[in-house]
Symmetry: C2
Subunit: 310 residues, 2 copies
Amino acid sequence: MSDPVRIGIIGHGKIARDAHIPAIRGAADFALSAICDRSGPGEPDVPLFRTPAAMFAAGAVDAVAICTPAPPRYAIARDAIAAGVAVLLEKPPCATLGEVEQLVALAQERSVPLFAAWHTQYHPVIDAAAALVRREGLAHVEVRWEEDVRKWHPGQDWIWRAGGFGVLDPGINAFAVLTKLLGAPIVESGRFEIPAGAETPVKAVLHLSAGDAGIDAVFDWTVTEQDRWTIAVDTLAGSALLLDLGDGSLRIDGERAPVTADYGTEYDGIYRHFSTLLREGRSSVEITPLRMVADAMLVVERSTSLWTIA
Amino acid sequence: MSDPVRIGIIGHGKIARDAHIPAIRGAADFALSAICDRSGPGEPDVPLFRTPAAMFAAGAVDAVAICTPAPPRYAIARDAIAAGVAVLLEKPPCATLGEVEQLVALAQERSVPLFAAWHTQYHPVIDAAAALVRREGLAHVEVRWEEDVRKWHPGQDWIWRAGGFGVLDPGINAFAVLTKLLGAPIVESGRFEIPAGAETPVKAVLHLSAGDAGIDAVFDWTVTEQDRWTIAVDTLAGSALLLDLGDGSLRIDGERAPVTADYGTEYDGIYRHFSTLLREGRSSVEITPLRMVADAMLVVERSTSLWTIA
C-alpha cells in the first residue's frame, strides 16, 4: 500500500472543522499534514502556517483543500498548481466562471489534479432519485431551501458583500443536486430580495426549466422556525419524489426509500473521489451550478428586503 | 455557382435595418427571402411573417438572422434548429449562458449550423492590434465606452428591465474585442450605477486582468457630448496602441496605422463567415464575452445612479 497523501487545509473555518477535517481523519488515503490560517489556533499536532506561500515553500503538502470564502480561492489555487500541489476546491470553486476556466487551463498545462467538489452531489439519496427520474421522465420540480442565516453563517460578513452569494451560497447546493438529477437546467426568471446595505440576496425566487419541465425554487434565509432543504420531483409516470437533505431521506409517494445518509457521508464521498483522481492523475471540474448562479444574476429583478442584517 | 442561401430576418428593428439587411443585400451568397416582425411594415418586395413559426412552416428560409432583444432569442433559435433552419444570432447570443449551451447541444444533435456573431470581432483594426500585442506582450489596457443612451437606444425599454444588460449591452462589444485581443480576461471587481426604477446599470466601472496585466474599463451611457469607443493598450515593449471603434482607426504611438474600416465592414465580415460555416456545415459559438458580463454581475457593488431614465 502506498503512503497516504499529505494534505493541507487552507482556511480553518467552520466548514473545514465540521466537514473536511473529520473526513480526512477518517480516510486511510490521506494524512492531515498542515493547516493554513491567517489568525486561528489551528489543530493540535498539525503544523500551522499563516500563508499558503509559506506552506508551499515548506514542501509540507502534496495536496490542499481550499476552504476559504470564494473570492480569494482563485489566487491560492493558482499558486498551489504552480507549486505542483493538487487542489480540492470547496464549493463554489471560485468567485467567477472566468477564474474556474483559468484554473482548468493551468491544471491541464501543469498536469496537476484539480477537483471542484459539490458536496450535495455525494449524498447517496441523489443517485437513487436520478435513476428514477431517468426511468420515468420529468414533469415538475419544486425546490425549497429555507434556513436561518444567523444560525448557519454567524458573523460571516463576506456573504453580504460583492462577490458573496447571499442565500445562493447554500442555494448553489440545490443547483448541484439539480445538475446531477436533471442535467443543466436553464434559469428563466426570478426575483432577489436584498437587505439594505447588502449586495447579495437574503431571499431568491427563481423559475428554471429542464427540457419541457418547469422548476420552481425558493431560497430563503429568513426562516427561523425550521431548516428545510427539500427537492420535490413529480415524474411523467406520476411518481412523487421528495429528497430531504435535512434528514437525508428520499420518499417516493410518501414511502421512505431504504437509503439515507448524513452530512458527513457527503464529505467522505468527496475524499474518496479525490483519492481516485490523485491516483489517476486526473482533474474533475463541474462548473454548471456556478453558471446557474451567474445566469440568475443576469435575469432577476432586484428589490429591497424589509429583513435587516444587524 | 450554387444558388444563394435564402435568409430571413427575425426582429426587424434598428440593428436589422442599419446593419444586417445592407450586409445581406450586398452579399452574393445570400438572398433576403423573408422578414418576421410582430408589428412593423417589413421591407418592400420581401414576404412578411408575424411569427417565426409561420415563417418556418412556409418553408421560406434556409437560414435566419435573429435580431430581436436577447430574452426571446433562445426559444426562436430552438424552434429554428428544430425546423432544420441555420441560425445566426446577433450579440449577445442569448439572455443566459445556459441557453447558449442548450442551443450548442441542439445544433450539434441536429447538424444545423449555429453562429454566435460578435460584430466588433470583425473590425479589421483588431487583427492588426492582436498581432502587435502577441509580439510585444501586454502591460495594461484601458477601455472607455461612452455614449448617449437616448441617441443609441431611443424608446428601448427592454435594456433597463431584468434580462437586459443596460450599458453592458454596448459594453459587451468591448468584451468581444478584448476576447479576440487577449484571450479570456478575468473580471475581478467593479461598480454598477443603476437608475431608480431600472434593473440594469447606466454606468459600469470594472477591473479585469489578463495574465499579469490589468484592464480598467469604464462603460458610461450618460455621456452626451461625444461618443467614445476606445481601447488603449500599452505593451511590455513600450508601444501604445489606441483602437478607436468610433472612427475605425488604429493608432500606434500616435501614428495612424494604415488600416481603417466603418461599421458596415463588420457585418460584411459576419456574413462572409456565416456563408463559410453554411458551406462547410459547421457551427461557431464564442461564449466568452457573455461569460464576462455574467461574471461582472457576480462581483460588482451596486449603487443607485442620480441619472434618471425618463
